[in-house]
């Protein structure tokens, strides 16, 4: 825990495809250390003392913002918060002006969330030399820290941590729900595949992307048939607006095919775990009963690991030459 860490990766974290499997593995190993830090009575290290991190959330997300903010503070970084609702964006200031204004205050990294795909990448072209951009979720495109924390949670569940070389080889993961509109699904697929898992997308055809060419996945529309073979069920949120889009006939129709209820829970294999990125729409992707009574729902571990993973990512990008302790 004393050797200084020398990051080899890129300056930004825009998507997991960008950084590749080696960096994913490296970040998960770093996460072990921050899980340990978070278990201390005073969960704080001076690793990023003097660094300033701006969280720029152009789309509301209390959970992810709090997770990043907690991570930054536990690394002793300063945190600037920006949210679209309370800002000059509503007065017509452009995205670029906003970023450049905040950048002028002296910022080492921006954590960006936006409802439009690609905004973090656009912003990465506008920030100053040496300033990092972390994607905190963009449109349907990518949510890299969610993919990392989901992968970490599974590695932790199976092996106690990422350690040196713990992977998800041969683990069968079903991602269930609205894959088409899900940045979580895209990042999960990349993270799980990088760790060696076998991923199957489980959804009605209207909730799948138009093309899955190049995706390391299998696809099925039959949840019941594949359910007993899965080691992990990764549920995605299904929003009611998909009805208005004409992508689903009724919510009931979706729930019949893909909702995780007590009957389907009985079909699950011994040891199969359930993860969900939250917030859960109870009664749609999963019933309250299953959520509350199933012994292997890892949602709370996901939230806890989210802080550790974000500490690892911030440290990976900004902690060059610094000891973690």
């Amino acid at each position: 825990m004393t050797a200084a860490f020398e990051p080899q990766g890129p300056r930004h974290l825009l998507s997991l495809e960008d950084i590749g499997p080696d960096a994913i593995t490296e970040i998960l190993r770093l996460t072990d250390r921050f899980v340990e830090v978070n278990e201390r009575s005073i969960p704080r290290v001076p690793a990023l003392r003097g660094k300033t991190i701006a969280t720029c959330f152009f789309e509301d997300s209390t959970r992810t913002r709090m997770s990043f903010e907690t991570a930054a503070k536990r690394l002793s970084a300063e945190v600037l918060n920006f949210s679209a609702g309370s800002s000059s964006l509503s007065k017509g200031e452009s995205l670029r002006d906003t970023i450049e204004t905040i950048g002028a205050m002296g910022v080492d990294a921006f954590v960006v969330r936006h409802r439009s795909s690609g905004v973090p990448e656009q912003i990465s072209r506008w920030v100053g030399e040496g300033v990092s951009v972390l994607n905190g979720g963009d449109g349907w495109h990518s949510h890299p820290t969610q993919g990392l924390l989901d992968a970490y949670t599974l590695v932790e569940h199976l092996h106690g941590g990422a350690g040196t070389g713990h992977r998800l080889d041969g683990v069968r993961i079903g991602i269930v729900g609205d894959v088409r509109h899900s940045r979580v699904a895209r990042s999960d697929v990349t993270a799980f595949a990088a760790m060696g898992a076998q991923v199957t997308l489980i959804a009605p055809s209207t909730l799948l992307p138009a093309s899955l060419e190049g995706w390391p996945v299998e696809v099925t529309h039959d949840f019941d048939a594949i359910l007993p073979d899965l080691d992990v069920i990764a549920l995605l949120r299904v929003q009611r607006e998909r009805l208005a889009d004409g992508l689903l006939p009724t919510m009931q129709d979706y729930v019949e095919g893909y909702g995780l209820d007590a009957r389907r829970a009985d079909l699950m294999g011994q040891g199969t775990v359930i993860i969900h990125p939250g917030p859960v729409v109870r009664g749609i992707e999963v019933t309250s009963e299953v959520l509350e009574t199933h012994p292997r729902v890892l949602v709370q571990r996901q939230v806890a690991n989210g802080v550790a993973v974000r500490m690892a990512v911030l440290f990976w990008l900004l902690g060059s030459g610094v000891d973690i302790t």
Binding site: L95, S117, G118
Partner: protein, 424 residues
């Protein structure tokens, strides 16, 4: 320099003629032949065309010139300068929703500032609710009508516009992709839209749109030019319709010949177009279709946008790019089109679409000429050139072949790659 000053284009290869000098006087071609520079009048301006192709001036069929109140994006002066630099001597000025030409007054106003024929709005404000006063606009001098790049959703309204305008002798320049298939799509629906998490519009939207339009052409007998086909299947449909005798012409936008959907991967809004960029295989098929003569013209599809607009998120930024200054070089160097073919697609083809006479460079022909150096290497400037806007994905790109001189109506508008006062 007065209009009566003689101009000699010396030492070039004249399109359709061979090595020859061209003498210009009184706004027309006065002589074409070998070694004419020596015998030119005193005070004649000799422009060096050594190693260059001398061709009829280029004509663009789809240029958004900005229009009143749009000076942040473009001005008439900037358009004339950009056109001169790009070798254009005429263009079909297109009504847009931002600056609609939808009344006799608007026609008169635009005549004041925009050179070239105008394409008026089919519907008031391009809102697609009620027909523009087409008869009065025709009386004011309009002979073309356009949807302004926004496809008319109602087949009934479009039919009535075609019927009404055809009876007035007007022609139509229209886009064709259907609007209610993949309505929210901001790029081609496929591998890349799926990876990038952007809503896609399938190629089927354009195929269906062209089918609808062709059926309406058959129903109404309208003479229609279809803008910016991007789907090879749609190009085939138009070519087939033409073989059956329908009065349909078509163009392809330079961007669809240059780029593919994969280029959207950096989320640069300068790669957002309507219709969207297609997969690389489609682009290759489109290039082949253009080479095979299945379309009449290639258009610059010049759409100036402010930096603020192109700094919006990809899915909110307006589509389109500027192109007047780069289209020729992009077609030759970027798409591998032989230069002689390129000047046909950018000059003679559009002229035929506009119903102009054959444009051979012969004595008495209008002195709208361009001199192109096929070996000149140049870099697209970061300010985009003479346009008020700089929204092009070609910024910084090195291109081979460049317009050296442009003569428009007997006046030099581009002299050795420098825009002259004559272009203002």
């Amino acid at each position: 320099m007065s209009d009566s000053t003689q101009i000699v284009l010396s030492g070039g290869t004249v399109h359709g003629v061979g090595p020859a000098d061209v003498v210009i006087g009184d706004g027309v071609v006065a002589a074409v032949g070998p070694d004419l520079a020596a015998g030119a009048r005193d005070g004649a301006v000799v422009l060096d065309a050594t190693g260059c192709l001398v061709a009829p001036g280029l004509i663009d069929l789809l240029t958004d010139t900005g229009g009143p109140g749009q000076q942040e994006r473009e001005t008439p002066t900037a358009i004339r300068r950009a056109a001169a630099a790009g070798g254009y001597t005429s263009m079909l000025v297109t009504s847009t929703a931002a600056a609609p030409i939808d009344s006799p007054a608007a026609v008169a106003e635009r005549r004041e500032v925009d050179a070239g024929p105008l394409a008026g709005a089919l519907t008031v404000g391009h809102r697609n609710l009620e027909l523009a006063p087409m008869r009065m606009m025709v009386e004011a001098g309009i002979s073309w009508f356009t949807d302004g790049g926004v496809v008319v959703p109602s087949a009934d309204l479009l039919r009535h516009a075609l019927e009404y305008g055809t009876a007035l002798g007007a022609r139509f320049a229209l886009r064709a992709d259907l609007v209610d298939l993949g309505a929210g799509g901001v790029m081609h629906e496929g591998v890349w839209s799926s990876r990038l998490g952007l809503p896609g519009r399938p190629e089927a939207a354009e195929v269906l749109g062209v089918q609808r339009l062709l059926a309406l052409v058959e129903l109404t007998g309208a003479r229609v030019h279809v803008h910016t086909l991007s789907s090879p299947a749609a190009v085939q449909l138009v070519a087939q319709a033409r073989r059956t005798g329908l009065a349909v012409t078509a163009d392809v936008g330079i961007n669809h010949l240059l780029f593919s959907d994969e280029d959207c991967a950096g989320y640069d809004p300068c790669h957002r177009f309507e219709p969207p960029l297609r997969p690389a295989a489609d682009r290759e098929a489109l290039r082949q279709a253009v080479l095979d003569g299945l379309v009449d013209a290639v258009v610059a599809d010049h759409v100036p946008c402010t930096p603020q607009d192109k700094e919006l998120p990809f899915d909110q930024a307006p589509p389109g790019c500027i192109g007047l200054e780069t289209t020729l070089a992009a077609l030759v160097d970027g798409c591998g089109m032989p230069l002689e073919r390129a000047v046909d697609l950018l000059g003679n083809g559009p002229a035929r679409v506009l119903g102009q006479q054959a444009r051979a460079i012969t004595v008495g022909a209008p002195a709208d000429l361009v001199v192109i150096d096929p070996t000149a290497q140049w870099e697209v400037p970061h300010d985009g050139g003479h346009s008020c806007s700089s929204n092009t994905a070609l910024v910084g790109r090195s291109l081979r072949s460049r317009v050296r001189h442009t003569v428009n109506g007997g006046r030099i508008t581009l002299d050795d790659t420098t825009v002259t006062e004559g272009a203002r």
